[in-house]
Symmetry: C2
Subunit: 611 residues, 2 copies
């Protein structure tokens, strides 16, 4: 089992290009936009703990702590790279309130303090440990960014209480949380403060999973919260897809910190089940709104795709951990699929509004699509929203973008791995590495590495790439080009063929039978009515013809023009007529990156086309 | 405007072949099966009017009178041709109870007598006039079959009461019924008893339509019950599809009995809107479960198709009336499409169980399909049921089959029209006409007509037919072959080309884009897993190759073998892979008549295939 170290946020700067632009909007617009919505909706105010029945304040929901915690974590990642007194003041203010309202015994939870004080740790699905997990992640990020450990100390006190009631007294109503998150958070804390109790508590929750008795009827069943089997016996991705991938991330952390081989087998099998059978081409997972969950293998409907933004983020978290445990480019390929498609489709180009669900097909004529948890929201789910009733996704994508530097490279004593081609400058373990690239608009990647003479450099050859060239000798190892670094200052240029490609889905995917999707580099493309004056469902793509590509500043990536045809209306005025009389005319189908859909108003949209 | 007379049930016998077989099962099995279910569920017992809150008896629903009335009408149509003392006794017994429990003022309604006596004619959607309509139809059918007019007299008394409260006192809570039916029923009564009051009341209800104030929100809006416009101003098929086509049938009757040209324009436009934009290839109409209703033009999803059996019957009623008002074969073509597909798909081959909804695609993996009105039923809607909570369809298909003779021919002084090719022997207006055919299994139709010398005979050339031959001179008039009958005993043979055909849908039908359906003669075909050992969604049909056809006694019609291919699983183990690597293998796709689907257990099923 491998144990690569990731290059940490503090050791790497994103310097230019696609992600630098995204990070600029993220810190200038998004982090404030999410904050404003959370202030308006009472999420920040809830930290005053002064809600009571009949008061004017909005009633806190039991997941509000986690919403704000993810915002704090986002702010911390931004503060790690940018001075921003307003952000820092607001984070400190929130920590003040946590300190003020934390119980003497360490417990902290808004909902269960002001609304159901007698039901602490009684209901497995009341998200107390999930909220704690996000608070821990925020504490760690803020400590890493600022060196201030006050919030870690507050959380440490809470963790001691959790250890007492769950592990010692066993006085709680359940033994593993309904919504996972605490596990990966405890390992994250363990990384910066290697106290065994953190690791032990994380392992306790992992080992308890499958023991709680859960009703098996309905969609909120044992599989829904991955409680159907002990974690080491699990082999398939099941249930609520965010919960699932937070669990799998925690399991991967357990592998990393304990070397648990059985756990590694489970992680590998689950990862394969996901990417070989249950993932949209955009990286979306959890195809059903029923339980926001995985369904059966190859069940990937496009128009009713749930594919929650948070689920794509969660799978990226899992895959990004796996890439350091096994040299296999499919892990970083999956991270790449997510960060260029299913994750950033969840945020508008201007950084102000969001999608919770990320369908691969919109037919505005169908108004029956619906969301399971945000039913009451004002806008149809074909329009991006400023906030959701269940607004987990906005700060999740905010923190992902702010933290993107941590996905780029990892290393051990003799090897340096470049997993994501993001223009950046890194300094770690005596090595200085600069990546220059206009990826994913262009396929040239220049890596300049100093202080690594005698080590081997591994550059990921993306799974989507049909041909590439390198200006130095290499051999291919599990999807990476392995290069001997034979100079103090070593320079290598990788050229990836960015020719647009037509993809088919496994024939067992009913929704995509007879259809093709278009990709260029890591980007999945879609068509919208804004660019095309014909019905998208009428289009047949010509996969034999060349696809034209042209950089578009609005999207920050190329747009495409694909040759195709549309059926013409028949002149018989008959609803049904002989197939031999079908006539088609040629059209140019303009396509945009999938991540950019629904930025120019409501529109029909489509990823998969007949060919 | 034409005014052909239909050859009445008393004037024609179905003699052999497809429909004789259906009628045998109908009178030996179905009419008793429906009766048994109605006895079990308390529908017959409700005619004792002894339900009270807390009693053991099932609570009557306000549409139960109509269920039983349709059963009585079915029994009457059967009694018109077959002695059956048990049936007759039971009809008489029901008439006894109607007589016994009818109010002194003439009112009769189970629900509103035993449950809501104070709310008579208050709620437009409580189906009192709908129930009365079906009771009138039963009364007329029973009178025609037996010469007994007791039930007509009872209904006459009720009608007088309706005239009083609706037309004179105007003391009711609405002025036109929420569920149409009374209009066509009153015209039917007027036909056998030409009293002006019947026609006037029917016209009153037609003319009042559009005047009641209906809430416009939700699906139960003004369009839902065709109340959005005065009937003469309506141009499109709208709302609840059974209500709609019962109304349009009544409007066609009004044209026949009053010569109303404006009404005829409305009927023609609505008919065109239906068959050119809103009808499945099977004849199914009302594509949405939401309001059991028509939606927008070309919105014809296959898997969620509602296409209620009753709606197909209702459209057949409308089209069958229109065929006698205008010489245009499209009307009888539509009747034919319904009686061989969308109507009889609603009843199992053994005559015992039924479909309320008639989808054109079943994917058993999708368990989210649902019915709007029969939600509580025991079986999934992919299995035929013995009865429904809302069990309007079973007796409706029973009466249609028993009455099929009335769809065959019509005439006037100088012309005889054959609309449907059903083996039969007819005697009307001095003419004796015998039709011999194995249609729809074979395309030969022999018509022998005596006593018609000097008249013209019109044989419908089906719209689906690409070539035909006749052994006598003819010219084509609006879809009919017009033949001069120049002998006392005149014999003609029509041969229709029965070669299987591949049909496309108008390209505006999103669900069928790039797909073909297979028909042979008037029969639409489908494939089921029972006959094919591959996933149906993987199939691509080869529309260039010949289709083999073979008579199958189980279905009483030919089954087909169509050449096609299915995508093979790729060897890359990748969920997404280059289109160029897609491999297909040839398969023979076995197809059965659509009407016979779901007779051999639950199965995936499909009508439309990629090609």
């Amino acid at each position: 089992m491998e144990q690569l170290k990731k290059v940490k946020l503090s050791e790497i700067d994103v310097t230019s290009g696609f992600w630098a632009q995204r990070q600029r909007i993220n810190r200038e617009v998004t982090v404030y936009a999410v904050r404003d919505r959370y202030e308006e909706t009472g999420r920040f105010g809830a930290f005053d703990f002064d809600y009571c029945e009949g008061s004017d304040k909005p009633r806190p929901h039991f997941f509000w702590d986690s919403d704000v915690a993810k915002w704090m974590e986002s702010a911390a990642f931004i503060l790690a790279k940018n001075q921003d007194d307003e952000l820092q003041r607001q984070v400190e203010c929130l920590i003040d309130k946590i300190e003020e309202h934390q119980d003497e015994n360490g417990y902290f939870n808004i909902y269960h303090t002001v609304i159901e004080p007698d039901n602490r740790f009684k209901d497995r699905d009341h998200h107390e440990l999930y909220c704690l997990g996000h608070l821990i992640e925020a504490a760690v990020a803020y400590y890493n960014a600022t060196g201030r450990d006050r919030m870690i100390r507050l959380m440490d006190k809470y963790i001691d209480y959790v250890i007492k009631v769950f592990m010692k007294d066993k006085s709680t109503g359940f033994s593993s949380p309904g919504h996972e998150e605490i596990e990966l958070a405890l390992f994250k804390l363990y990384e910066v403060r290697p106290e065994e109790k953190y690791k032990n508590l994380a392992m306790f929750f992992l080992n308890e999973r499958g023991k709680d008795k859960i009703p098996i009827a309905g969609w909120c069943n044992a599989k829904y919260s991955q409680n159907h089997l002990p974690v080491r016996a699990q082999r398939t991705a099941e249930g609520h897809s965010v919960r699932a991938n937070y669990l799998y991330s925690g399991m991967a952390d357990a592998v990393r910190f304990t070397g648990d081989a059985e756990m590694m087998e489970a992680c590998k099998a689950i990862f394969n089940d996901t990417v070989e059978r249950k993932m949209y081409i955009t990286g979306g997972v959890g195809s059903s709104n029923r339980g926001e969950a995985y369904t059966t293998a190859y069940d990937l409907p496009n128009d009713t795709a749930y594919a929650e933004t948070c689920a794509s983020i969660a799978l990226a978290l899992f895959a990004n951990r796996m890439k350091d445990l096994e040299i296999d480019s499919r892990y970083a390929d999956t991270v790449e699929r997510e960060i260029y498609n299913g994750i950033i489709s969840g945020i508008s180009l201007d950084g102000r509004s969001f999608f919770y669900e990320n369908p691969l097909e919109i037919n505005l004529a169908d108004r029956t699509r619906h969301t399971s948890v945000n039913e009451g929201d004002r806008l149809p789910i074909t329009q991006r929203q400023l906030n959701f009733g269940c607004s987990c996704c906005p700060p999740n994508v905010t923190r992902l973008i702010a933290d993107i530097g941590e996905y780029i490279c990892s290393y051990d004593e003799n090897r340096v791995f470049v997993h994501q081609y993001i223009a950046s400058s890194a300094s770690f373990a005596g090595v200085q590495m600069d990546i220059e690239t206009e990826y994913p608009s262009l396929g040239e990647i220049n890596v300049c590495i100093a202080g690594a003479k005698g080590k081997r450099l591994y550059l990921r050859i993306p799974g989507w790439c049909e041909s590439f060239s390198l200006n130095v000798p290499y051999k291919t190892v599990n999807g990476y080009a392995e290069i001997d670094v034979d100079a103090d200052s070593f320079d290598v240029t990788l050229s990836l063929d960015m020719k647009p490609r037509f993809l088919a889905a496994d024939p067992r995917v009913r929704a995509d039978a007879g259809k093709a999707a278009v990709m260029r580099g890591p980007l999945v493309y879609c068509a919208e009515c804004a660019d095309n004056d014909f019905d998208l469902f009428k289009v047949r793509l010509d996969t034999q013809k060349e696809v034209a590509s042209d950089y578009d500043a609005y999207f920050g990536a190329p747009v495409l023009e694909v040759k195709g045809s549309v059926a013409e209306e028949n002149t018989l005025k008959a609803l049904y007529f002989p197939v031999a009389d079908v006539r088609e005319r040629a059209v140019n189908v303009k396509m945009i990156p999938y991540f950019g859909f629904a930025n120019r108003g409501e529109s029909d949209m489509r990823v998969w086309f007949r060919y």
